[in-house]
Subunit: 270 residues, 6 copies
């Protein structure tokens, strides 16, 4: 059950309204990484969650994001208000000006209506927490960019509040994920295929426009990594060499064969 | 530049086509966590990336996902093919049957057209890598659920291949993020507000339907955490106690005041 | 500022979960006339509202709808839960089953993601109240249809609660509109053109498939109504009779002419 | 069956084309409250309607809106035409300029494609009429705002025509609704729960930013209204006082309990 | 200006309503290749068209499609009507059943709302006519598939009427395009680059799953065609051979170099 | 299987970045007629195609379009890059600036996310080829317009390359269609109704705003064409003349009657 108190979580004060910046602020009101997206992602994950402790976490933060939605909406409203009557201002966001009379609406800076396609909800708690960590990181960088695009002290002050809270949430979700004690890279119940999972497919080769060769790094060398030449190139060469027998896809023979490339790829481990 | 080799990255063989399962498979073809979403997210992040080494990583995996798109599309196509002529089958996905003649299309299991709203691309490399780690975790769990919904050995075999590769990619993205050497919870350049960032707002209180009290855990106690009673309840009480002076939002006074609750919240640190 | 209490506004209890009905319930969770649509429409109208009294009304009801969202979401979650593991159930909503693991998501019964396009927000208070009255009427009829599609007493009980509240809100919005004291059919500030506004254009003529002639009723006869033969037919006849001079559209002559039909239409007032 | 006469319902003449205003005009061509939305909403309600008299009304007005679509489209086309070759003009709506060659398209002022999500069609005649009354009120205010954003006499003249007709339609739909003779607030067949329906939940409390207390008005006092303290606060207090027993949601016990707040809420009737 | 006559362009009669087939019929009501898409595509192309003769053609057919929309909508309505009260029927399209009360709505067979994204309108007449020829071909095949999915004689009869008209329109659009007298493959004003335009890039190589080699046909051999080995493979080999100098993309040197492959590709003309 | 080579298919060099033009370029990156739309339309048609030779063609061109996506994306990226830090530039596309940090995203010039609704895929090869011919014509004209909106030589050079290739593809698809040897206007298997198919319905009549009478041309006269007076007007007149008996739609009588107008329409063949 929800209750609303007629006070903002953070008071907002602005200098001269800047409709162009008000339009930009809509990114965090009705945009893909904005406050409604955060509020809904966490609240609905919480509704579906069977772990009572982390469900509480999801509801705590989901509710806070609703209060943030109100703060950023109030801030945007102040900047957009001149659009109702000022033609020049109206041009910054004609949809807000004409359809909305200068009021905020659940859309982003280019007028796209908010959509639940922005949400990442799987009903698998540790997966959802990873989605939330990433979501908070995105929201943080968007607030930072907004701060960089305004000089109004009051506006910056409110955005700094909201931006800081995203890091708070990122920390909380990270702690909640770690406290679940799942082994690294263990998602769900079915384990990945042992050898295959450590093969790195080098599917983009050649030299880049700035002369860079193929990159090596901890993401494809060391540890258990096995470097595999791109399957497509291997397939091409095995075809040229006459070592490949074409097979009928769709045939029902019950004995699927693994592609040569993935199984026999010569590793070039350093 | 791309090249295509007329061979699948993983051969697919199925037994009796199952149109209902073919419809489900569309989740990984044109769905929110499917292969086109992965391919596009990484390839476009790569296109925007200024770090040549991790750009190579993004292009390697982005290209592999295109090959996966072809594999899962071929698999779905086999299961959906009867829809062209079989009325009973057609009912499992009338859009595929009637508009598509039994061929696959870039939509999910409920017919929603694929949309770029599924993608998370910020142009901030470490943030994008976090989004990718979460994306791979989601894709893995979706493949696992698909495996659980079929008994066809050939289908399971192909799905196991695709599922395993998601873990490979999750490992690679994690290594790439860690190798950037950024401090924990450091996103972008502007630091969060020091005290505020460690305050946990208890915005959902009371006893749950199963009798659970408010949860404590590493996400709100220990370390630097400071527990703050929900701002809304504090505001309500300060209003009742007569200690709050309403302020005019939108007023331009240059000296925004922080909300009482966030600043003066009594911490309940353990 | 929002606060959440870990108790539902209305307790929900169900008998045997019915995944097919759970899918139908999504209409009121993430559908066009559902609880999120109501919550967002009123809360954002409230955020934009300059009338403090009716703003309070909008926030009261907008907040209640968030609590309803939680109730209907919990109810749907109970019915959908079997989808996670039961293949037969999964078929009722494969998107919920596979992408969501049997949890609710912000979509309707056909899997369409919730979109802000469902909302009607103009920033003109009396217009918004009219939109809200209509929205509550729609929500009421949808709940009634859901009640008619289930036999489960607990489910019916919760739906009856939610349905009743829609009438409550419809009454409140109607009283709020009437108390504004605006003259009937007075919207905004610019008055309609005097004669034109009372002309009823008979644009659909002939005899219907069941033999019905053109209908007359208080919507086109009596009072100030003037019946005008369809402009298109008049134009056709004036053209045949040679009484019409074609004019160049797009011509800038500063003296636009009203169409003959609208000005000279022979009224057939009873 | 439809027929088209090659003459506009209202001749349009403009002075100097104003591409920026042309872009704004798209709101009424392909926008949420525009002429296609009106035409489709009424025509499809008409197609579904079993009341032959009001079906005729719906078809009359639905057809007129198609003629309006043509008028506003012609007007917008005149203003947008320079976009084909004038770079400066093209910037006002690059989608129209580049994809459309300066021609109109079914999108709004921010380029969103028209979507049937704008429509409100329930198949319940009196509910549909309420949606139509609200739709006409919205369309009227949008035309008024457009008139306020241009100085071109010919453009204003055409918009005045279109705006006036919205009031005509609003009158007609109101008369049609009233002539159905349904009791006030009676929607569908199932009556709301007697006591509950008159309870007003005060879900937003405290003092607003401008010092406003909770508002009372005909929407929550007088008549049958019973004022109920917000359920969430009551629940919180009953929990603190130890008078609440948590119950297991999802439990199938056949005897759902109504929440305390709704049943026992102390009214504060004036 | 439009006028509506209360008679269908083609009378529809059905036997026993088939809600499942009614759902399928929505493809041609509110689907991507359906009658509204056709009506809107042609009417708006017509509105934008400067060629008075072909504008008349576009308006003739655009208007006819509106009458088809009414026919197919009436047909679907008959089949869907049982959904209002029959639970089993309701399951075939819960959105129609619950939100629409068994009435048709502008959506396709999977519930997707009609969107203007379906339309292809460029404002370049010959290009638009090509889009229309393709659109009619698509609509024809969709009607044929629908005919194949029903046994009801009355339904088949109406669909045969509608299907036949698509061929009529395809013929008319083809004649209109040919009568414009434009040289083959001449689109717009800027000619393509002479040699490049006849180069066929073999970007998919290898042997297919059924043993097919690279295909040759009139689309890549004979006439002016020059066969070019896939640019990507050429680039890879030139890089391996050390004959490629990486260049800095984004550098502003005024003398862009064409890729080696496209310019110097060794043709393998037969 | 796909492979990526780290070299563009066409090197791009620009002078001074022009963010406004960069925004326009997004039409061909993530817009309705852009490179991703082309790549996906052909690749998925190819995946569904049973004709091995034309499947190869579809894969060749589908793959080339992926390389084009990379070229146009790189070009747009160069022009958009200043948006990350330059406020004035950011205003040209705030979504790219704030959400994307100046990187490209799969959206069009007005910020609409790419959607699979742009694609035309029917699984009927000759129909798909017609859709592709039209798609290439549209893409060509869009590139031409982009060329006309910039003066930067390097940008023009790259766009000329991409534009030329569209004509190449148009030629190839046309040759592939013609080589199938299908009779003209023969789509699918069910033939259209003989007389009806050659009737041209004159559904838009009267004299246009510039005085044009109804147009005659090879699309409605000569050959097998039979001109039919608009069915709606005929129906109206037969109703006035008392020669029409209204019939009950929805009645199941097994003997549907064709409308009088279509059967008995007096032809006005020249």
């Amino acid at each position: 059950m929800y209750h609303h108190i007629k006070q903002l979580m953070y008071s907002v004060h602005i200098g001269i309204p800047d409709p162009r910046f008000g339009n930009m602020l809509l990114e965090q009101f009705g945009g893909a990484n904005g406050e409604l997206a955060a509020a809904m992602q966490y609240a609905i994950q919480g509704l579906n969650c069977d772990d009572p402790e982390r469900k509480d976490l999801l509801m705590d933060i989901g509710t806070e994001e609703l209060s943030h939605l109100e703060v950023v909406g109030t801030l945007a409203r102040m900047h957009l208000k001149p659009m109702k009557s000022d033609r020049h201002a109206a041009h910054e966001d004609p949809l807000i000006a004409i359809a909305g009379g200068g009021g905020v609406a659940l859309q982003n800076s280019m007028g796209n209506p908010w959509t639940a396609d922005y949400l990442k909800i799987t009903g698998e708690l540790d997966v959802d927490l990873r989605s939330n960590i990433a979501a908070e990181a995105r929201a943080k960088i968007v607030y930072e960019r907004l701060i960089n695009f305004t000089d109004d002290p009051g506006t910056i002050d409110a955005l700094q509040f909201l931006m800081s809270r995203e890091i708070t949430h990122m920390k909380a979700f990270t702690a909640a994920l770690e406290s679940m004690g799942k082994p690294a890279f263990s998602i769900g119940c079915i384990p990945p295929t042992p050898v295959l999972v450590n093969q790195y497919f080098n599917d983009s080769t050649g030299v880049g426009d700035r002369g860079e060769p193929d990159a090596r790094g901890p993401w494809n060398e060391g540890g258990e990594w096995e470097m595999v030449t791109a399957p497509a190139l291997q397939a091409m060469e095995s075809y040229k060499a006459g070592t490949r027998t074409p097979t009928e896809n769709g045939q029902s023979n019950g004995s699927p064969e693994t592609v040569v490339t993935a199984k026999q790829g010569k590793s070039k481990k350093k």
